[in-house]
């Protein structure tokens, strides 16, 4: 039997590296809720900052400290990102959507589970090892030449094993049980992609890589009517600002929010001033890898957040938010101006950080502080 959720395929929109957000937007559209990509991003509480300061702690002799916030987290030393990797948990709360979830550690059971939900008309969200998936599915042809350059750099410069990572999200919309293939949508491609269950399992069955997929799957039950958008937006803004100003208590070497950012900037500064040259490529690589491929667009998602703020300004009838939106757009350009040259240098295996770039990071840090406090002041009055 062959079954495809054609309605889902028809409404699918690509969103590049923002696969988690694009996927949830498609889910909401499928169930009749026409939310934009920035709106889904914003209400999902995905803007933040995470820094795994492994190296600093190692210096202080705290190497025994746990690093995982929750199962399958596994952030490597020096990992930096513009979010917290809490998945779609906040999105579910903001939209009052119920999620059935689990893992399937047997490929036959996995196939049967996917079939069952597709037969019910429900698409299934799956996490994969992005490096394996991109190789397996031949995805390079769908993406920009720049992506191919990036992949070449990954393969040639850094050990591939160190770069294997999860937090890459695809959605199953069909199956063919005569040849055990499945149909997926990927957020770089408009086309449906076919893959055999054995090959899919080769992309999901990873427990020990960064943000491990560990055969996780999710199915969403979306109500006919979502909560009032004004309340949703204001709650999400408050969550974001609070998490930045009052970091999460992680009990580990993972630091979040503005404190994580400060720690990251201090680390970069130390590396530069201490002339620990060997560490510079490592840190630079992490910035690049995460800013490029981990659900981000060079700018730690500040531009998408800026667009969310613009929409929020209209939804909440709060013109001040538009000013903050403008500032976050500026911040996105600042991050972008910092990271793009680093990328070119790294691709060419040249020196990675200059003093001017270090100073630029300090400026960005100060702006991050100022803008989130300005945002907090505005939303505290709403």
């Amino acid at each position: 039997m062959i079954r495809i959720l054609e309605k889902f395929q028809a409404l699918h929109l690509t969103s590049g590296p923002m696969n988690k957000v694009g996927l949830y937007r498609d889910i909401l559209h499928y169930y009749g809720h026409d939310y934009s990509l920035p709106l889904v991003f914003g209400i999902s509480g995905l803007l933040g900052f995470t820094f795994h300061s492994g190296k600093i702690s190692a210096k202080e002799g705290n190497t025994d400290q746990p690093t995982d916030l929750f199962p399958d987290y596994h952030l490597p030393d020096g990992f930096v990102a513009g979010e917290y990797f809490l998945g779609l948990n906040n999105a579910l709360r903001a939209t009052n959507v119920w999620c059935q979830r689990g893992t399937k550690n047997n490929k036959h059971d996995f196939f049967e589970l996917l079939k069952t939900y597709i037969n019910e008309g429900r698409p299934v969200h799956i996490e994969v090892n992005r490096t394996r998936w991109i190789d397996k599915i031949g995805l390079k042809k769908y993406v920009r030449a720049e992506w191919a350059l990036y992949l070449n750099w990954v393969h040639n410069t850094v050990s591939l094993a160190n770069l294997e990572s999860g937090d890459y999200h695809i959605i199953c919309i069909g199956y063919n049980d005569e040849n055990f293939t499945l149909s997926f949508l990927d957020y770089y491609s408009s086309d449906s992609l076919e893959i055999h269950i054995d090959d899919l399992f080769d992309c999901t069955d990873f427990d020990n890589i960064c943000l491990a997929p560990a055969n996780k799957w999710y199915v969403y039950y979306v109500p006919l009517e979502l909560p009032d958008i004004r309340s949703t937006v204001s709650a999400s803004l408050k969550f974001m600002a609070n998490s930045m100003i009052n970091p999460f208590k992680t009990g580990s070497m993972v630091e979040t929010g503005l404190r994580g950012l400060d720690s990251f900037v201090a680390t970069i500064h130390d590396l530069f001033t201490d002339r620990e040259v060997a560490d510079i490529p490592r840190i630079t690589s992490q910035i690049l890898i995460n800013s490029y491929s981990q659900n981000s667009l060079y700018d730690f998602n500040r531009m998408l957040f800026s667009e969310f703020l613009e929409e929020s300004s209209t939804i909440l009838n709060e013109p001040e938010l538009e000013n903050i939106a403008y500032r976050y757009a500026e911040l996105a350009r600042d991050w972008d101006r910092l990271i793009r040259p680093l990328k070119l240098k790294a691709f060419n295996q040249k020196e990675c950080l200059s003093e001017a770039e270090i100073n630029q990071i300090n400026t960005i840090k100060n702006k991050e502080h100022d803008y989130v406090y300005s945002l907090w002041d505005i939303i505290s009055t709403i």
Partner: protein
């Protein structure tokens, strides 16, 4: 002595002695309560330095609800007066996150729990309550019923040579002391194939910011979401739509079920409404207490009026629950002894439930 512990799990933080010795998180305070989820959350929040009563947890977690759902294995109606994912909603409304993790890998499920305990965190897990002798002893429910949604907090453990001789220490809402169960029993209870409500090895990781949202704000968020979940649920057998079905259909059960199945359904309905962790009155009494506490915190007269409505609703639910119990013993009695009067009571419940939601809406509009 060789200890049983999954590979990759460290015992280092506990500095275990030469002999096996139990380790219970010293800062975890076991307290008893009315309902498993709300009580466990109150205990876990307290452990994390956030003092919020069980009742406030129930309300902030938008716990008020209704489910009228027919299961197929066993073929029993699942009727429950609360909403879902209370733990995640409480944390979200406080500015934190509850990260749920489900797995069909029992070893990974065990390792996940031990890792959190070793980090010094109590672990909230889902279990099929019918597997634990102490539960079976207290509730004569589990001959026919498997319910995999019971929440307990694991507050410590004692490693031994095997799963049968290693033990967890559980904080369970209706027991004065921590309960001791073996790793083997726990594995069965967590991985049980409990019909429509399997526990799926679920456990939570809780992450809180250094400063949570104010209690006033969290209460408002909980009430706002509860109005939504009651009026616009994600499944049409939940909330007010589910309640409408229940109130119009329960009296037809006698025509559609054989006597033995009918009695089982009625007994289970009574237990789920009145006895098993509901605080009595199908969760309306605990919700009323939430509203009374919230009205004091927010100095709201409207919430105090809503408290009175839900207190009375608790009485109505208690009345119908006892009629259902009578019918479970003799189907000619109880709700069928005077069907007209029963329907009047059911209509009154439905009316008051809708009125209660309107009062909550009124509070938000103040």
């Amino acid at each position: 002595m060789t200890m049983f512990i999954p590979s990759g799990t460290s015992l280092a933080p506990y500095k275990m002695g030469e002999k096996n010795s139990p380790f219970v998180l010293p800062a975890y305070k076991h307290r008893m309560g009315s309902h498993c989820s709300s009580l466990q959350m109150s205990n876990i929040l307290l452990f994390n330095g956030i003092k919020i009563s069980e009742e406030l947890c129930f309300g902030i977690g938008a716990g008020l609800g209704f489910i009228y759902r027919k299961a197929f294995s066993p073929p029993l109606y699942f009727i429950l007066g609360r909403s879902d994912e209370l733990e995640e909603k409480i944390c979200y409304h406080l500015g934190g996150v509850a990260v749920p993790y489900k797995t069909d890998n029992n070893d990974k499920a065990l390792k996940g729990v031990l890792d959190l305990l070793n980090k010094g965190q109590p672990v909230l897990v889902n279990i099929d309550a019918s597997f634990f002798p102490y539960m079976r002893k207290k509730f004569n429910l589990f001959e026919n019923v498997r319910y995999g949604g019971h929440r307990v907090t694991i507050a410590g453990y004692e490693p031994g040579a095997s799963k049968d001789t290693s033990y967890f220490y559980l904080s369970d809402y209706a027991w004065t002391d921590l309960q001791k169960v073996s790793f083997a029993e726990m594995e069965l209870a967590r991985a049980s194939d409990a019909g429509q409500t399997p526990p799926d090895n679920l456990f939570y990781t809780f992450i809180f910011p250094e400063k949570t949202f104010s209690i006033e704000e969290a209460i408002r968020s909980g009430i706002r979401l509860n109005i939504q979940t009651m009026l616009k649920p994600w499944f049409p057998v939940f909330g007010i739509p589910g309640l409408e079905k229940f109130c119009s259909r329960i009296l037809t059960w006698k025509r559609t079920m054989k006597e033995e199945l009918l009695k089982q359904n009625l007994n289970m309905t009574y237990m789920m409404m009145e006895v098993v962790g509901t605080g009595g009155g199908n969760f309306r009494r605990i919700y009323a207490r939430f509203l009374r506490q919230a009205s004091a915190i927010l100095e709201s007269k409207t919430l105090l009026e809503a408290f009175d409505s839900y207190r009375r609703l608790g009485d109505c639910w208690k009345e119908i629950a006892y009629l259902i119990k009578e019918s479970a013993e003799d189907p000619e009695k109880g709700i069928w002894s005077n069907p007209g009067s029963t329907q009047k009571l059911l209509d009154e419940i439905l009316f008051k439930e809708k009125l209660g939601i309107e009062q909550l809406k009124g509070f938000l509009n103040e």
